[in-house]
């Protein structure tokens, strides 16, 4: 019987079975940021411990960092203190830190891959639930809490129970105007926001075979929104091609050896899965959320659900969501007025996201009254967007072009919704208050759909607005 990638990576990184029955799992790469690490360093000091393997931890600032003001001290004294604390911790414990002056700063899940730190067959952990992003490379990557950040700093291991593996096949041809973001929103809508509890999701099928690394990252990123703690795609030529020449990747003979080893981690053809789900690519529409969790999603052509048509506990959820979103039951989602368009995040803040939207934004203008912000996921993404004229397309269309960070995805920096503003967002969560205002409203969608909403000032079908006819896949 063959093994899945998950089992192979798990076995290779197992140190021993702990007295509580869980596995002491070695984590090859630990990523940290300014929000969930300071308490962990504090605990480490309290215990009188050092960082056990400092060269295996990498730090950057993303959650709190302002995207407009980039010089210290920052206007927000608390944010300033947290960023200084991270710098101090990295200096004291010998951890590599990609700070604002490095040209390598950005959202931790974008920086890891672009630096070549994220590699196949490895285990990765970070105090952020979207760590599953790194699974796109055939790594097993976990979002963790701060006590586990402490565990990793102190021992490079953590206590974890083995996950089951669900294979999700997406086969066929995605219709024009349907993107990786739609694929994952559709998967979450189909399997539910807690359908993945206890599972790692292995994504496969010919759609994933053809996907670029950036598209794979978008899907893996949102695994946690479906309840799955990890999500991954088996490494292949696309993976190796992306990694070749990246700063932290091996070179020369070391590269060939690494590729050979990485290839061996891919799931065997006769691997047995705990569950298999098949999805037809043709059934996936441009998808938008209407509610207050990412599973409350519909096609852009559908109407918002009506509580009358659902029963039991789901009815309460629908009523709560509609009341919060101030949407009319049974009304089309298309045409809902938009106040803000947010383009960015670890889900959709990579170069290809900006390039694809720029194709359609060229010569268009953001609608009057809409605040549109574009936030590149990293300084490297920002630079390449400048070099290719992509940033200018956004600026000329009326977007504010900002510095790299998490920004309005979770609104810990000054980028926030005001009052009950409605935001068309390329991010990953539409929870109540997520974008910084306790009554702010979020509708999740693909980046091109955000661009369409920005241009029309309402939730729109990008295929109509931009005349998207050709296939999204190339």
């Amino acid at each position: 019987m063959g093994k899945t990638l998950f089992e192979k990576v798990w076995d290779a990184h197992t140190v021993r079975t702990l007295p509580n029955g869980q596995t002491q799992l070695f984590i090859g790469t630990h990523l940290i940021h300014e929000v969930t690490s300071p308490q962990a360093f504090g605990m480490l000091r309290d215990l009188g411990l050092k960082v056990a393997y400092p060269h295996r931890t990498f730090a950057t600032v993303d959650h709190i960092v302002p995207t407009d003001q980039r010089e210290e001290p920052f206007a927000d004294a608390l944010a300033d203190a947290m960023i200084k604390e991270l710098r101090r911790n990295c200096e004291e414990f010998g951890v590599t830190y990609f700070d604002l002056a490095s040209g390598k700063q950005g959202i931790v899940h974008i920086v890891g891959p672009e630096q070549g730190i994220t590699q196949p067959g490895t285990t990765i952990a970070c105090g952020d639930s979207h760590t599953s992003t790194h699974g796109a490379f055939g790594a097993i990557a976990f979002g963790i809490g701060t006590s586990q950040v402490r565990d990793l700093l102190a021992t490079q291991t953590m206590s974890l129970g083995k996950l089951k593996v669900r294979r999700i096949n997406v086969r066929g041809q995605l219709p024009p105007g349907v993107y990786a973001k739609d694929v994952i929103l559709h998967i979450i809508r189909t399997l539910g926001v807690n359908g993945g509890t206890g599972f790692a999701y292995e994504y496969g099928g010919d759609v994933f075979d053809r996907f670029s690394m950036e598209e794979r990252m978008t899907v893996c990123n949102m695994s946690i929104e479906g309840g799955a703690r990890a999500g991954y795609v088996n490494p292949d030529e696309t993976t190796f091609e992306y990694l070749k020449g990246r700063p932290y990747c091996p070179t020369g003979a070391g590269w060939d050896k690494a590729v050979e080893r990485w290839r061996g981690f891919a799931s065997d053809p006769d691997a047995e899965y705990d569950d298999v789900v098949d999805i037809r690519a043709e059934d996936i529409p441009p998808t938008v959320t209407w509610g207050i969790n990412p599973g409350q999603a519909i096609s852009i052509e559908e109407s918002v659900p009506s509580p009358e048509k659902v029963t039991g506990s789901e009815r309460d959820s629908v009523e709560e969501a509609l009341a919060y979103m101030k949407l009319t039951p049974d009304a089309p989602i298309k045409g809902t007025p938009v106040d803000v368009a947010f383009f960015g995040s670890c889900t959709n803040g990579r170069f290809s996201d900006f390039v694809e939207a720029a194709r359609y934004l060229k010569g268009k203008r953001v609608a009057a009254g809409v605040k549109a912000i574009a936030v590149p996921g990293s300084q490297a993404v920002a630079l390449i967007c400048e070099q290719n004229g992509v940033a200018d397309v956004f600026r000329e269309a009326g977007f504010e072009w900002r510095g790299a960070g998490c920004s309005m995805c979770l609104a810990m920096n000054p980028d926030k919704l005001i009052g009950d503003q409605l935001c068309a967002s390329s991010s990953n969560r539409n929870f109540k208050g997520r974008q910084g205002s306790p009554t702010g409203r979020t509708i999740l969608m693909s980046p091109v759909m955000v661009a369409a909403a920005a241009v029309t000032g309402e939730i729109s079908d990008a295929r109509e607005v931009f005349g998207v006819r050709e296939l999204a896949e190339v």
């Binding site: 290779a12 990184h13 140190v15 702990l18 007295p19 509580n20 029955g21 869980q22 002491q24 070695f26 090859g28 790469t29 969930t36 300071p38 308490q39 504090g42 056990a52 393997y53 060269h55 709190i64 947290m82 730190i117 590699q119 067959g121 490895t122 105090g127 952020d128 639930s129 979002g143 963790i144 809490g145 701060t146 006590s147 565990d151 102190a154 021992t155 291991t157 953590m158 206590s159 129970g161 926001v193 807690n194 509890t197 946690i224 929104e225 309840g227 703690r229 207050i292 969790n293 506990s313 309460d316 959820s317 979770l410 609104a411 810990m412 969560r429 929870f431 109540k432 208050g433 997520r434």
Partner: protein
Amino acid sequence: MALEPIKEVRGRGVHVPGDDIDTDRIIPARFMKCITFDGLGEFLFYDVRKNEDGSEKKHPLNDSRFAEATILLSGSNFGCGSSREHAPQAIYRAGFRGVIAENFAEIFFGNSTTLGMPCVSLKRADIREIAQAVEADPTLEIVIDVEKQVVRAGANEYPAELRPSARQALIEGRWDPIADLLEGRDEVAKVAERLAYV
């Protein structure tokens, strides 16, 4: 580092109804601008408890009848979303010592266990029954029996589910794994050498 075994949690309850209550709702992101977890308790469920002018909304946690509650009852998929440990820390620092829900998001469950705050799963109908009993008598004592995997409320007993590793860790006083992890130091070194991949 011997920890206190947690075989049961005993106290009054409060029901915060709803499914898919996410960690952003439990502790809004703006309160995570801190370098210690101290003081997070007062911001627990802040945006659903307070109006923007700071006045109080109608919420079970603002109801003086439940002011002494130490056990939180809720719906399914409790603690979904962000991995922020700030969420269970806020619950713990607001005085809670156990959570009862239909089921839990995985990261939240692990973070809570590491704090020594048991999270047990009960059937939906059973949670509703306990919630009604608490509403009728806020002084009702609820017992989460971690060892026997039951919840008792007054004269009634309900089956409770808890992951075996979490149950064992709690009743043996190993809920914070740091000591056990440190003990494996030599074996970790061997694995680290074998996996010199970065």
